[in-house]
Amino acid sequence: MYERIAVMLMKEFIQLKRDRWAKFRLVVPLLIQMLVFGYAATFTVHHVATTVLDLDRSQASRALISRFVASARFQVVDWARNQAQVTRDVNDGRAVIALVIHAGFAKDLEDGQQAPLQVIVDGTNSNTALIALSYISQIVGLFSQHTAPTLRRTAASAAAPAVRITLAPRPWFNDDLNERWFFIPGVIGTITLLQVVSLTAFAVVREREVGTLEQIMVSPIRPVEFILGKTVPFFLIGLGDVTLVSAFGILWFRVPFIGDPLVMLVGTMLFLLAAVSLGLLLSTFSRTQQQAFALNFFFVNPLFILSGFAFPIAAMPAWLQGVTVVNPLRYFLVVIRAVFLKGVGFAALWPDLGAMALLALVMLAASVLRFHKSLD
């Protein structure tokens, strides 16, 4: 048994060594994706293009606007003269946000009345719009806190001061809610999965296409020997991948790694086992590389979307949450984020580790069963 697996491994590594492209393929896309995700995957919004129409032209209105100007979140791109110009700015896409202060704003404030600020948002990108709106309400809130008490006093209001509740958020594990800290570990899991599943699936299908698989199938080799010989190399490559991109995330993007490397290793190995098993299973359903490509595309995208990488699983409809149960990436993301940022160990992570082990075993068993040594 070891003799056969040994020659299979030897063959795979000689082929890899001879394939000049492989070295490029295995490393460069990983690093590029890491860079792209690291810099691009953020929900923070800066310099939102804003148009301002101030019809009040009072000290109060200018004070409010200056708060927007001073904030790096917004960039005033136009000082509109009338409502029509505001509409044009938003329609043309020059501005995402329009702030309109109607005449009488300062007077309403002085009278202690509701002083409306009209905000128009281009909602085509709902995500940016929501985030920008939350910044606006922060700015306006601060403004009214500052202004209101003095105004009240001048207005000699008799009303008793309202009870005030202040929310003081104190996020754990990621004090600044730095999104890169959240994304980088996720990226490590995601791109490793993409790489390992497709490498494994293609490696088997290529042998089928070239005809070498037929030559191997007429030998007395056992399916499990062939499968081990074909998956161990990609398992090892996957370990290298994870080490490489993790080091990159820690050293380049300064993501903290406060957990136990052993927990990380165990989690990674279980995850890679699931990934090579999935690749193998896909390969048993494909006769040609085109089919493998189509299948890979069909499976990997949902795996990515249903992993909790970007979209919270808790926000998905119940049936879709049920689907995520069979997604190994989902568990690995929990593990890798926990190890990087929280530093928790086996005691907290065993359900996720167990789930990956179970998925890997089921898929591996299925592919051994499906790998008949026959052509029909």
Binding site: V7, V218, L375
Partner: protein, 318 residues
């Protein structure tokens, strides 16, 4: 497998794919040390039959034993005893000659103490001395085929299945390949080899003519040529050939006629037309007639004749 059991027994072996019958009830027995050729056009069912004998395809009906083991029930036992060369070249092009041999030796678990001598033998047999460390993809077709044969015999199988081993190989290399086959046969290896080159059939001890999934004739090349035609073969040089063929085919006493190069091959029934009669028929049709003589048939004549006759074939399996 003791010395008296046949190497291969095929009994009404059938394979259908959906509604297409690729192999249709083939029956034959191959003794140890025989070289048997499967001859027939592309798509006749030769590869499908060989693949069933290797346990790569499951028979739809009928059965076959190889080295005494049933191919459907004990494929792994069968695989211990066979070497196989598939139609498509299927070694690793990016590995060297030696690396390929080492790989297949490992897959077949050639014992460590035998490893060096077996690999040495395969390299020498394939004539690849001095090219051991060349990547296979750079080798010419003939070398590749011989290396593939070398890989298939590393574990010294008593039975070899070779599926069109010489297709796409230049004639000189084909000839050399057949020398190797005979050397192996001389050592007692049973060889079943398929080809669509009629001339190669002459190198076999026995040949099985296969057409449309059916075995249409089986016997030694000499016996097939002698008995299967059902008449006397006459070769006539004449022009124009097309008109001559039409005229002669319609003549009474002519069993079959076909164009062979710049001549007609005509099968006439025994005691029927003689050479003079044939010349007369053609001359009457305004056809120029050159040399005409009785010839001994080639296997190609036999094959064309048998296929044309259409099977009343149960006797073919005898």
């Amino acid at each position: 497998m003791n010395s008296s059991t046949p190497a291969v027994v095929v009994d009404r072996l059938t394979k259908t794919f959906d509604d297409f019958t690729a192999v249709d009830g083939i029956t034959l027995t191959i003794g140890q040390g025989e070289v048997v050729g499967f001859i027939g056009p592309n798509g006749a069912g030769k590869s499908t039959t060989l693949r069933m004998l290797c346990g790569l395809l499951t028979p739809t009906a009928g059965r076959a034993t190889v080295a005494g083991y049933d191919v459907a029930r004990e494929p792994e036992k069968v695989r211990q005893n066979i070497g196989y060369m598939s139609q498509k070249f299927s070694l690793y092009g990016d590995l060297t000659v030696r690396e390929n041999l080492r790989f297949f030796a490992g897959i077949y678990r050639v014992r460590r103490e035998d490893l060096a001598s077996r690999m040495e033998f395969a390299i020498r047999m394939a004539g690849l001395e001095g090219r051991e460390d060349v990547q296979v993809t750079t080798l010419a077709g003939g070398w590749k085929q011989r290396l593939a044969l070398g890989c298939a015999i590393l574990h010294r199988p008593p039975i070899l299945f070779l599926d069109e081993p010489t297709s796409g190989v230049e004639p000189e290399a084909r000839r050399r390949f057949w020398d190797l086959i005979h050397e192996l046969a001389a050592d007692g290896v049973t060889i079943l080899v398929s080809t669509h080159y009629m001339d190669e059939a002459e190198y076999c001890n026995r040949i099985a003519l296969i057409n449309q999934g059916r075995l249409i004739a089986l016997g030694t090349p000499r016996a097939l040529k002698g008995s299967r035609l059902g008449g006397q073969l006459v070769e006539i040089a004449c022009a124009p050939l097309g008109r001559a063929l039409a005229r002669i085919s319609a003549a009474a006493g002519v069993l079959d006629a076909a164009i062979f190069g710049d001549r007609l091959h005509v099968v006439v029934s025994e005691g029927g037309l003689d050479l003079g009669g044939l010349r007369q028929i053609l001359a009457d049709g305004g056809i120029q007639v050159g040399e005409a003589r009785a010839v001994s048939p080639s296997l190609e004549d036999v094959f064309v004749r048998i296929v044309a006759r259409k099977p009343d074939v149960p006797g073919a399996a005898a």
